[in-house]
Amino acid sequence: MQLEQMYQEIILDHYRTPHGAGLREPYDAESMQINPTCGDEITLRVKLDGDTVAEVSHETLGCSISQASASVLTDLVVGRSVEDSLRILGAFQEMAQGRGKVEPDEDVLGDGVAFAGVAKYPARVKCALLGWMAFKDAVIRSERSDSQEATA
């Protein structure tokens, strides 16, 4: 059965007990992202500590893939530098959009490699990326408000 290729145990585990679920205060920036084809939504908050991602929290109204992905994201970026986290994001995105032809690096992506199977289903790639897009947007927003403070 091909289903197990997409829904690997790791994914189902994260889906059942998602890390970072539930919005938390305080935070530096928030982003709401939506998948226009299915209406799924994620709201994601980022708290930075200097240059480090201190906390990620999110509320995801979506399928197993989008929820598990947000959970894995939380694991992968918390405690990393912003720069590192964006590098991980890049690797995740490359794999997700790679149509199953990109060999993921487990050292970089950790549990994220489980999403390699999703890459073979183009209609689900957006689900896997929803949380990551929210994270990217939130980081950009927090940097923008930072620089506003700096110039203020």
Binding site: M1, Q2, L3, M6, Y7, L12, T37, C38, G39, D40, E41, L61, G62, C63, S64, I65, Y121, R124, C127
Partner: protein, 423 residues
């Protein structure tokens, strides 16, 4: 009376293919787009191999033949919905047809455009005028009206949808300021068939125009637009076994005659000078540029095909499948069907949610078993919000579907619950 599905399936080449590693294709997504029988493919191809030319423009033999084929297609499609050929305008899809009417309203209001069309004031719309839709519309019959309101200052109002998936007729927002009432004949999500007669009556009472979105009715049941008494109607070729890239705007002859044009260019003119132009009578006035010639020919072949089966037979067949689907799905714990759960005033679209399993995940399990359905908001996002869900699973039927395929759907939904451990 009854229908030989096996014979019919033989006409559809795509139904013979397999998906996901050898599983037979169970295509339950005809509400999005239907498949095409050999007869339609052949009609289009033989037109292209024998008679293709620009229509209404050339004086050579091919141009004559192509024009005849195109106009014969118009006449057959018109007859299929009880209209006159002059009341059938070819568009690229139903969406264009609705936009055409919405833009004609604002064009009539930008003054001079209406010049030369006696009666065009019928279409003028001013700030504060009202447009009425319903809460179950496809985006195609909602967003163009929102944009018309933006352009003109008109106000959008709507009928609410009841918990049973029927229109709440008590929420009637029609007033003497209502210019047009636009609504679906059949919901593409819930399957609900709307009370056309009653809505036409209420619109008429205040002198409003009526536009019927017949995308989900004309392909599935007998429809006589003249008898329904609507002013405008739209439908798409690709949902009725015909080609993509072609749709129909129906308009009552006297209204089309008074309506200013939308798209302008070649073949819709009467006289062109650099300083200004005048326009041809309908339907030409609304068909600018080289049209979808072979697609119209293909759509006429689709209409012939459906007509030969008989639309009452098609409808009865689809309702039989709908009843089976409702029965089978309702028996699964945690499955909730949105919309009517009987076949009364209903067509063959069945939307549902499965407690604890997201629609995308249900769809994935079904796809893995070869069952093609649609998941998401089906371009009816406000309706989904009204039911408090982001996404539903929708199965929809056409003439080629079988009871066994409904069984495959039901079993697939059970399998999804098992896979995600909610059973």
């Amino acid at each position: 009376m009854s229908l030989d599905v096996t014979k019919i399936r033989g006409d559809f080449p795509i139904l013979a293919r397999t998906v996901r590693g050898g599983r037979p294709l169970v295509y339950l997504d005809s509400g999005a787009t239907a498949q095409r029988p050999r007869q339609v493919l052949d009609a289009e191809r033989s037109f292209l191999e024998q008679h293709n030319a620009a229509v209404h423009r050339g004086a050579h033999q091919l141009a004559e033949e192509a024009t005849d084929a195109y106009e014969s297609a118009r006449a057959r499609i018109a007859a299929f919905v009880g209209a006159d050929p002059g009341e059938v305008v070819f568009t690229k899809n139903a969406t264009e047809g609705i936009n055409l009417v919405a833009y004609a309203l604002s064009n009539a209001s930008s003054g001079c455009n209406a010049a030369g069309f006696p009666g065009a004031e019928r279409f003028e719309i001013a700030a504060g005028d009202e447009i009425v839709v319903t809460g179950l519309e496809h985006h195609a019959n909602l967003v163009p009206w929102q944009e018309l309101c933006r352009r003109t200052g008109a106000v959008l109002k709507w009928f609410e949808v009841g918990e049973d998936g029927r229109l709440d007729l008590d929420s009637d927002p029609i007033t003497p300021r209502t210019k047009i009432v636009a609504f679906a004949h059949q919901s593409n999500v819930l399957g609900t068939v709307l009370p056309v007669e009653e809505l036409v009556r209420r619109a008429r009472a205040v002198g409003a125009l009526v536009l019927l979105d017949a995308c989900q009715s004309v392909p599935h049941m007998p429809v006589n637009l003249t008898e329904l008494g609507v002013d405008f109607a739209v439908f798409s070729g690709h949902k009725m076994l015909g080609p993509s890239g072609v749709g129909v705007l129906y308009g009552r002859a006297e209204l089309l005659a008074a309506m200013p044009p939308f798209l302008t260019g070649g073949s819709m003119i009467e006289m062109v000078r650099m300083e200004g132009s005048t326009y041809a009578p309908p339907p030409q006035r609304f068909e600018a540029g080289v049209p979808m010639t072979s697609q119209a020919v293909g759509l006429a072949a689709a209409v012939d095909y459906l007509g030969e089966i008989g639309m009452d037979v098609v409808h009865a067949h689809e309702l039989e499948l709908t009843a089976l689907a409702i029965e089978g799905l309702s028996a699964i714990p945690g499955v909730r069907i949105l919309g009517p759960t009987t076949t009364e005033d209903r067509g063959g679209a069945v939307a549902f949610v499965v407690d604890g399993v997201h629609a995308h995940d249900v769809g994935q399990v079904l796809d893995d078993r070869g069952v093609a359905i649609r998941v998401g908001h089906h371009c009816a996002w406000p309706l989904h919000r009204r039911f408090g869900v982001a996404a539903t699973v929708r199965a929809s039927f056409h003439v080629y579907n079988t009871p066994d395929e409904v069984t495959a759907l039901v079993q697939g939904v059970q399998a999804a619950r098992e896979f995600f451990g909610v059973s």
